[in-house]
Amino acid sequence: MKAFTYERASSVEGAAKSAAANPASKFIAGGTNILDLMKLEVECPTHLIDVNGLHLDKIEPTPEAGLRVGALVRNTALAADETVRRHYGLLSRALLAGASGQLRNKATTAGNLLQRTRCPYFYDPNQACNKRQPGSGCSAIGGFTRQHAVVGTSNACIATHPSDMAIAMRALDAVVETVKADGTKRSIPIKDFHRLPGNTPHIETVLELGEIITAVVLPPPIGGKQIYRKVRDRASYAFALVSIGAIIQPDGTGRVAVGGVAHKPWRLEEADVELKQGAKAAAGVLMADARPTEQNRFKIDLVERTLGAVIAQARG
């Protein structure tokens, strides 16, 4: 871990300004991911801006009958919130499928969206990684890739986004609210928030320098059976090989987002249209452009089979 300076931000605008003034700074909230990465010198911020004091920890109804989730709401609190459990069951289930009780007590809503990949080559500073050191190459390609992405990959990166929560947010069409250093606000649909790796896998979201997440807004509830199915080798405390976040309506229509397969939560609206035809049709669209490795080819079957189980459960 490299030495760094530290400040406690007292206002959103102040935090954004401070971050904009120092391109090598990072925000820290729960710290469940960045501290590990700093210890390994995968992340080497020279300045940490602690945003825990910004009072962004409320869950409130919106005038549109949706829900505004403050950036600092802890995963445990969000999963346990009565409105979330009643109307956004998918989100609660996805949160509880992730990490451990201890980590969820610390991890925040915004931090969860921003967590980094768990690619083991990213974690080992001896190995080339375009995400850690742009332009150095990708040592995962051609290596141990069982966990890696099968869709939306590039020749520069085949890492996955590890979040469970983000899969639910994507299926729910959440909107990320931000404030920039100049005080302007943005509302970014979750579908536009995370990026595919392309040639710049180190740029993972559309956030600009100094831009800070203040809340994630859920649209009004849409009902339906809301199922999160996380498939993993170990029964708990493991990242998804594949996860399915689905909302299935009584008429068989619905939405599906897939985790563990791409650099971002993977949802294709044209696949949603096929849901009524069944898992094969929808998974076929979702995985149409898959470029798996020998080691992770199974994920394509696994998406279809898991989606099939989810649809069956929704009908059951």
Partner: protein, 732 residues
Amino acid sequence: MQFDKPATTNPIDQLKVVGKPIHRIDGELKTTGLAIYAYEWHDKNIPYVYGYPVGSAIAKGRVKSIDTSAAKRADGVLGVVTTLDVGDLEKGKFNTAKLFGGAEIQHYHQATAVVVARTFEQARAAAALVKVAYEQETGSYDLRAAMPSAKKPDESQEPDTAVGDFDAAFRAAPITLSETYTTPDQSHSMMEPHASIAAWDGDEVTVWTSSQMIDWWRTDLAMTLGIDKEKVHLMSPFIGGGFGGKLFLRADAVLAAFGSKAVGRPVKVALPRPFMPNNTTHRPATIQRIRIGAQRDGKITAIAHESWSGDLPGGSPETAVNQTRLLYAGANRMTAMRLATLDLPEGNAMRAPGEAPGLMALEIAIDEMAEKLGMDPILFRIVNDTQVDPEHPERAFSQRNLSGCLTLGADRFGWKNRREVASRRENNWLVGMGVAAAFRNNLVMPSGARVKLDREGVVTVETDMTDIGTGSYTIIAQTAAEMMGIGIDKVAVQLGDSRFPVSAGSGGQFGANSSTSGVYAACVKLREAVASKLGFNSNDVVFENGQVLSGNRSIPLADAAGGEGLVGEDTIEWGDLTKTHQQSTFGAHFVEVGVDAATGETRIRRMLAVCAAGRILNPITARSQVIGAMTMGAGGALLEELAVDTRRGFFVNHDLAGYEVPVHADIPHQEVVFMDEADPMSSPMKAKGVGELGLCGVSAAIANAIYNATGIRVRRYPITLDKLIGGLPELA
């Protein structure tokens, strides 16, 4: 004491303390955080500083140069010692790969430097500033690719065995099986990382460390440092797990010693978690070919087991075939081991070395063979049970109750409810049951102890034996209490200090039986000293309830101590009973699994182990050993694999996020039954060991249960869902 004749009745047979379910005497220290582990020794008057290792970024080659200038300038840094600074060092005799010293790089994360600073954080930050230039060489990292080049290992390993004519018998057999099985590299992944504190006083060094084998470490550390063994003092009273990963001297102790010498202060070094797979040792991967021929009645007529594994030059094969030499009858048999050179980190002992991967393969093969014969796999095993060494029929097992374990287990587990393959479905789960034999030999090691009696009647045992979480403290206290006729509260046990008599140490499931036998021997000496002091004839003295009785006289034990106390010291040594008789432990593992019909996720539902392992010294600590081993076997069956990057020559998933071991949610109800046994051939304690038996066969029982549930036979561990998904039922 020489143990060369079967034990007769002795004070242990009273079983007033030995054999009782006594909670760990060190349990309170552990649960309250007062047990001091290697890294935690702290004396506020000692100015400890911190060392952080630097590991090689390449797998094979040479260090050209090391630039330490930036590290030395960094905040708080007191010194940097590089592998080039210390030059070529003598390698410890138990180490295959050298731990430190010289330019040669033999494996990834091999230690190239240690940076010492005032704080841990400063040392870690500065370690990242050490710049090492390498000359990289190509290496061999892929066992399958290296198979054709594998060689016959040293004859001392008994690489080839043969009895009768396997080939002819196999050809003639009406029912045959020939299959290949693979097991991956596995990591010990014990909770406590390797850690040491070294402090020099003149030319003598004291090292607080985490070691299973105090005397091995002491010998090898002295050799590596180039000093007399007498100048090395080792302390390892508490150990947070080892599983074989702490049998042999490791780099943390060497780096701490060099770092401390360089800066003239006590230095603490812990290996960071990502160093564990690549800097230390691991269980090597195997490729195993098994052929079995049988008559239609199920009698095995031919059995062959061949295994390929790899290691660094000078290393050893994973002895995966050895159990096949003894487990089942059959007149015609052969085994073979071949060893390839691999430039991966050192392969070495991990819990049940040889047995665990060997039985992972053999006990699937037996299940497959039973199916071919149309026999219940339990019956097939019983039909081929043997009471003698199949290679040397004149040599009998001292005790062997494999069939009893299988039969009792079948009854307890409800084996009769097992259904045809792929025929039991409960909602989304495909459910099946599997069984496997457990089999591990009883090894014995010389073990010494010193026993002191003081005027309060307290008996203190001193031995360099270790407790790696197994319960050594407790069974040693029970042994001394039984021998001296006192309550366990009157016994104090001091372990893990090189000033104490050399013991068996912890490994090979030899620790419990050997170390308590050493304590037994020392207590016999102390009893003689007590009798002599009191003027009793030692042959008719009885020690009970804190009294020494002879005829109609009764004197408190404490009185015998006098002001100066009494001491008994001895070492148990072993005759040839393990040669004249095959001494082994047996068991049967039963497992029920559910496999998700859609995703192929396997979840264990029930586990039972029935063990026949001689006298059980303490059913609580023994049970803990067995359920821990069953848990490890579950990991081996379903999760654990060090993933090899065959291009760059290292284990990629080198932390506990990437190398998944079971968590609580993976482990269901576990039941353990111990058969009531006492083996007079094994030792005066009539005990054996259970620490490795519990692992032997578990993974195969899980594999067999998955087959019973799904009809999919996976011969490549771990059995992850990607290996099942292609054979699962079509979705409705």
